[in-house]
Symmetry: C2
Subunit: 419 residues, 2 copies
Amino acid sequence: MNSNNPSATPHKADKATVRRHNLSLVLTTVHDEGEATRAGVASRVGLTRAAVSSLVDQLLTDGFLTEWGKTFSGQAGRPGTVLKVARTGPAGLGVEINIDYITVCVVDLAGTDRVRLVERRDNRGAAPAAVLSQAARIAARAIESAAEQELRPVAAELALPGLVSGGAVRQAPNLGWNRVAVEGLFAQALTALRPTHRALPVSADNEANLAAMAELWFGGCAGGDGEPRVSSFIYLTGEIGIGGALVLNGQLLRGAHGFAGEIGHVVVEPDGPECRCGARGCLEQYAGQAALLRTAGLDETAGAAGVAELESRAGAGDRAALGALEDAGRRLGRVLSGAVNLIDPDAVMLGGVFRGFMPWLAPAADQELTARVVSGLWTPGNGRLRASSSSGDAARGAAARGVREVLADPAAYAERVTG
Amino acid sequence: MNSNNPSATPHKADKATVRRHNLSLVLTTVHDEGEATRAGVASRVGLTRAAVSSLVDQLLTDGFLTEWGKTFSGQAGRPGTVLKVARTGPAGLGVEINIDYITVCVVDLAGTDRVRLVERRDNRGAAPAAVLSQAARIAARAIESAAEQELRPVAAELALPGLVSGGAVRQAPNLGWNRVAVEGLFAQALTALRPTHRALPVSADNEANLAAMAELWFGGCAGGDGEPRVSSFIYLTGEIGIGGALVLNGQLLRGAHGFAGEIGHVVVEPDGPECRCGARGCLEQYAGQAALLRTAGLDETAGAAGVAELESRAGAGDRAALGALEDAGRRLGRVLSGAVNLIDPDAVMLGGVFRGFMPWLAPAADQELTARVVSGLWTPGNGRLRASSSSGDAARGAAARGVREVLADPAAYAERVTG
C-alpha cells in the first residue's frame, strides 16, 4: 500500500467484483506465462484449484482461452491440460498515421501481429479528414483480413505524431494539424464504409507513447546477455520530428493533460532556428532528421533515401556525415542528461532513424550523459543508452492496447466474443 | 483499473485484509473531512452503517479517533456523534538536516505541527556523524516535548539536501557528503541517547521531495480564489543549492533509483562554470542563491542577510539586483519549459528564496514558458507558475509521512498505541 495516498485505500469488494478481477488474474497469468496448467495458475495466483477451474471454464466458454493437450513436465501430480490464450476471437486494431505513411495492424490476444497493411504517402499535403478517411479504408481492409483468421477487433486505437488529448489532436506541427477531432472523424469514416463497425470504440494517443509501449511489451526491454528487464525508460524516436515518451515502472507518464514526453521541443539554443512548434532552438532543430541531413550536406527533404545515404557516408568515414552525427549526439546527450536528472530512468531507448545512427551518435551522447548526470549512474557503454529493438512500432503498440483492455477485464468483452 | 498493466490485477482479498483496508478507509475519511459522523462516513465510503460502527468502535478503542459531541447539521435522521482523529497518540517525527540549519518537528494524526525545534548552524564544516548526532539530540528533545502532549512518534524521517536512496545519502554536494548511511547513524545516535528509542523506525528522503509533500498536504495546492486543487506539479526550492521534486497525481515521481527531480543540475550553458556536482553550467550556477547574490553585486556567502538585502534592493529598483533576478528568471524559465514539455504538470511551485523573489523572477520566467511550452497551456499570469505557500517545510513533510503510514494501515500501529 502506498503510504503517500491514504485516500487510495480500496473500497469494499463484493463477490461479483472479486470474480471479475479473478477472471482477469487467471487470463493475464496464462497470457504472461505463454502457457500454463490449472494447477500452475492456482499456485501462481494463490487461489484454490477449484476456484481456478471454475474461472478457467468460464474463460474457455467465452473463447478467451483454449486447451492444448496434456503437459508431462515432470512436476508432481497428474499431468495437466495446457492452457493458452485463444488465437481467434477478440483482437486489437492499431492505426498509425504518420507524416509519410499509414500503418494498420491487428494483433491477437497473445500479442502476435496477425495482419499488417502499410501505405507510404505524404500526409502533409492532404486535409485531416481526407487522411483519416484513407486510414479508415485501410483499417476496413485489415478488419476483413482479420475476419478471415477469425479475429474480431474489439477496440481501435489511432497513433499520431503530435499532442493528443480527449480524442483530438491538439497540435501536430509536422502534419500541420491543429485541433482535429481524430477519434470522431475516423469512427465516422469507418462507419460510412461499414455500418457494422459503428460499435468499435476508437481512441487516440501520441505515436511515441504507443511505440514506447510496443517496446515495453514486445521489444528489447530485456537488454540481452542477462541484463535486467527495463521498465523505466525514456523513449526517443527520430523521425521528421522527434517524438518522446516516458515510461516509469511499466506505465506511461502522461502528465496532467496528456502532453508529457515532448523531448523534441526542449530548448537547446535559446536563440536558435525557429521550430514548427513556434519556439526557437528546440532539440528537433538540431537532431531531427532534416537537421541531420542538412548538417551533413545532404538534401534535408530526401526522407528515407537521405537517411540511408547518411548512414552509408558515416560508415565510409565521410567527415561531414560524422561531424553532423557527433554534433547531434552531443546535443541529444545534453538534453537527455537534463531529462535523466529529472526523471531518473533505467535507460534511454533511441528509435526511428536514431537506431541506425547509434554507432556515431552514441559516443558523444554517452560523454555528455557521463559528465552531467548527477547520480553518477551513467557511464559509457553500461547499456543505459541503447537502440530500441525495432525502429519503432506505434501501430502494434496501438493494437496491443485493445488487447490489454480485454486482459484487464475479460468479462466486459465476453458478450462481444460469444454474441 | 489501469489497462496498461493487467498484472496489477488485485489478488484474492480475504476477510481480515478487507477489514484492515476498511479501518484505513474510515480513518482516512474522518481525517480528510476534518470531522464526520458514522452515518456520514457510511454514505461517503459505501459501507453499511453497522459495518462503519464496528470499525469506528475499534478505531476509538485503539485511540485513533475521538468523539466530540453531537452534530445538529440539519441533515436527515438523528443527530450523530462527531468523530475526529485523535490529537494524542501516534505522531510523526520529521528531521530536516540542511546546509545551515537543523529543524525537527512532530505532527499529530490531523497533520498539525505540535512541536518544532530549529537550530541554525553551518553543517558544512562538521563530519556527517557529528551532524547526525546533533540532529538526534534535537530529536530526543522534541520527543520529550511531544510526550508532554501525550504524542508518541511512531516513525522518524530524515530530510536531506542530496541524492538519497536505500537509507543513505549517495551524494549531497552542498554538504560535501558522499555515501553516508544516514538512517543507521541517526538511529544509532538516538538509541545511544535513549535506548527506548531503538524501536522507532527511521527513514530518509530528499528534502525537496518532502517539502513538496508538505506543499501537497498542507500548503497552497489550492490556488485560492476558487482555482482548482493542484495535484501534479514541479516543486523548486531555491536554497544554497536548488532542490527539485516532481509530484504527479499526488504521488512523488521518484525515478528508477530514487534520484528524480534534480532540476538544479539540468544544464543551462554546456561550457559554464563548474558546479559542486562536478558538471559544468548547471542551473544552480545561474539561479542558486550564491549566483543570485554574486550577479547582483552582493557577497555570495551572505546567506539569509544577503537574500534580504537583495529583496530590499530589488524593491527599491536597484538595476543590478533587478538584472540578476531577471536573468535568473529567464534561465529558470528555459529549464522549466523543458521540464514542462517533458512532464506536463498543472503548475510549477517556487519555494525557498525564490518565493520572495517572485515579483522580479516570474515575468521573465513566464515569458520563456509561454514561448517554449509546446502545449500552449502556459501563458503569463494564468497561475501555473506560482510561489509555494511557505518557503518550504521539509521537516513537516517528513513528519507527516509517518502519520500517513498510520492512516494507511492503523491496525499495524494499534499495538504500539495501546501497548
